[in-house]
Symmetry: C2
Amino acid sequence: MKHKGKTNPPGRIKIMKSFSFLMAQKDFHSITTAQIAGNAKVTEGLIYKYFKDKKDLLYQVLNEHFLEFQAKIENQIANEKTCIEQLEVIIFSSLESYADNRIFSKILLLEVRNSLGFFDSGAYKMVRKYSRTILEIIEKGIKNGELKPDIDAFTLRKVILGAIEHACLGEIIFGRELDIDEVSTGIANIVFNGAKA
Amino acid sequence: MKHKGKTNPPGRIKIMKSFSFLMAQKDFHSITTAQIAGNAKVTEGLIYKYFKDKKDLLYQVLNEHFLEFQAKIENQIANEKTCIEQLEVIIFSSLESYADNRIFSKILLLEVRNSLGFFDSGAYKMVRKYSRTILEIIEKGIKNGELKPDIDAFTLRKVILGAIEHACLGEIIFGRELDIDEVSTGIANIVFNGAKA
DNA sequence: CAAAATGGTAAGTAACACTTACTCACAAAG
DNA sequence: CTTTGTGAGTAAGTGTTACTTACCATTTTG
């Protein structure tokens, strides 16, 4: 009998907790179902009651983290008035969330992108929503004259998202500390004021 | 008996070709050693004569592609005089190389980063060299007054590399076409002139 | 209260990455 | 002109891994 997702039994929670714990230590493919089950103190079979496969477990863990991430960001954007301030908050908050939640960023930036299944997952829908929010702020900024009329909104989004993600990589991969204040103001300074003298 | 790497026998070449061919169609983990060997018309065991493991095969294929990539970039930088022009060429050429060579970009941007072994590989040494070149150009630009003195070289590099990589992702993952001219001038425009009105 | 659904287990299985032990060809060295 | 060593390749494994099937016990519900 398959699980229909109406309840959230302890076994399911233990499996997700166990998997998150293991993700903090090694990469997705080095984690075995036996380890997940052993660490959660359930049997391997139970994993497949609640998750379609190992990847689905990854997506669902990511999804949970993403809910927090998005709620936090949207909450903080609401406090800002100008588009530039909103984008600055997005840069800062994203960096902060990634830094606060290593497992989340590791999964999102390193583990899920290589398999096409992710792009059908619920987690990817949240990525798109986050991404759309940024685009809308940029478009509003262009319309109301805060941003230059000749810039392309999609390209600006690429630069902002790319900078954020790239800034996190060193931290995620090598465990380097990141001065969020410094990096986020640095990125914002370049993106808004330009690097040319 | 292990292979010592002094020659380049046909079996080794066939395995790498076969693997590249398969990488164009699916992700790394969906490719099996049986498929690699079958497609190359050799036996599975031979893979392990020339490559430590499946990941090592991935790194060595990446390494070959990277040699081309780096040669091309360095060649094209040499034709430019100002630092800004050099950085513009890096943006354009990187986008072009990624677009021309999907397997290379797929491996580098999506497949290798999640396992720590990559960062000990020869391919990663080339990434660092490419990365260092960019940093040196930026530092020169700051010194000679082309770039603003208050920007941080590392942050500017993050923005440029992040933008390039993010711009390629849609193309690699979804096979979207990318207008390299438009995107590269768009990125350069934002990074150098800023987006603020 | 019978039926269905939920939460969980135990014992598999096919496929996979990787290993071991072997052959064959052939080139120097003695 | 045989011995010895080596590079190229094969054949047949082996342990692990992700995932499946069949089952049990308890709770919910018609």
